[in-house]
Amino acid sequence: MLNTLVNTTATIAGVHFKNPVVMASGTFGFGKEYGKLYDVSMLGGISGKGLTLQAKAGNPGIRVYETPSGLLNSVGLENPGVEAFLDKELPYWETLDTARIVNLGGNTLPDYVLGAELIQRDADQRAQAGRQAVDMIELNISCPNVKEGGIAFGVKTPAAREVVRAVRAATRLPLAVKLSPNAEDIAEMAEMCEAEGADAVSLINTISGMKIDVRRRRSVFNNLYAGLSGPAIKPVALRMVHQVAHRVSIPVIGMGGITSATDIIEFIMAGATVVQVGTYNFMNMRAGSTLVEELHQFMLEENISSLDEIRGIV
């Protein structure tokens, strides 16, 4: 049993997180696969694979390439589409005791809005039956791996504002907006999200990167560029979380390269309310349970009785 002497809880827009360890979108499926390895209800939360209104096949060719301490991925938002997700995955999500976050992407503005409306309608129907499967929407305007939509919305604040405003109007569910490190001005972007009524901001998504196969004289990726994640991006992510946390009063969900309890503490000290863990799942299949246990251990050792004591301390 985990020690209950330390308080790891956090709350975002009324959503309870039993600890700050949330699994990042695109690296954890919808939780079912990892649920066979350990009890995923021990996690603070799960952000599901990024969804679009229609199913997407994703990118052809190589989809992953390792770099020193990082990972380039070019999955291209392969996903079953919002409706198939609601039908097939939510019965499982209803059984989980952890914060359940839907990561919503889109190709066009109407796609984002229709997706959000479908999720809201489903939530309303479930609520009538006294059930709940989704606690929060994470709006992804920052995927670097799709040509339309994705990052096209996440670089310039005016374009992003349109999406955030339209989705905010389409759902009453708590709304986090996931920001791109490739944004022109990430702090300005976050302020915009707060002004438009977002309940939180998530950052960072992957950093646009590249790998060239010198013998074949071409990029290893069909799409030319890919998204960099993992320990290599942690310093950048931490700086951005710190920057944004000082500019907005809504909670910040921080992520990028977390592989240890001390990494989590760094993000909390930089101002994050909870964190997300992505690439580390590929380094340690039991990443979630490892981190939750390590975090408790670290807090005991360091005499931290509640994460609130250190949140934003730097």
Binding site: A55, G61, R63, V75, E78, G230, M285
Partner: protein, 234 residues
Amino acid sequence: MATVISNERLANGVYHLRVEGDYGGTMGQFYMLRAWGAYPLLSRPLSIHQVNDDGVEFLYHVVGEGTEIFAELTPGDPVQLEGPFGNGFPEVEGRIALIGGGIGIAPLYYCARQLPGSDVYLGFSREAFRTEAFRPLAAELTVDVGGLILDSVDFNRYDHIFVCGPQPMLQAAQMKGAAAGVDGRRPNVYLSLENRMACGIGACLVCSVSCVDGQRKACSDGPVFLAEEVVFHA
């Protein structure tokens, strides 16, 4: 954590790794292995070469960073194993051919043990290895070095054909399978794919395989697919 029993060099860059522990699995399934801490980031998928009472065995080819580290392992060293994963080859009956190309013979040894009396075809580009281990298990053993092993196989003779090898060989086997058939009977051709993997369990979609009915996952829907299901890209 598992422990290395032995790590024997069989040929240039080819090793036979035996690992101790309570590890099972069926033919065609694989494990995700790592013998390092944080870097390289990803674990490496290796097919089950054999399972026995004291552990599991692998046959691997040194190609890069990760397998170079595997090649340094000595008895008593720790390795991390997660698995077994994947669907594996189906339990079938009838006339069976097992066709391996290069390191693709790795999973076929376990198949040969599970399906005694199969015909086994092993093809190598330069140097043959581990072929004698197959001999007592096979009804007929055909070994080819430097040629195209598929040329030795009459697809019409079999009900089921298991293939593992480099992608051009899998594509060629798919074509031969489609063209084969006598009296309306066609062999079921099964291909074991080797896509790059990250999670290994069906969560990240980096191993996606284009199939006639849409995208599937090599790690959890495969690595074994019916040949006619797979759509190969250039």
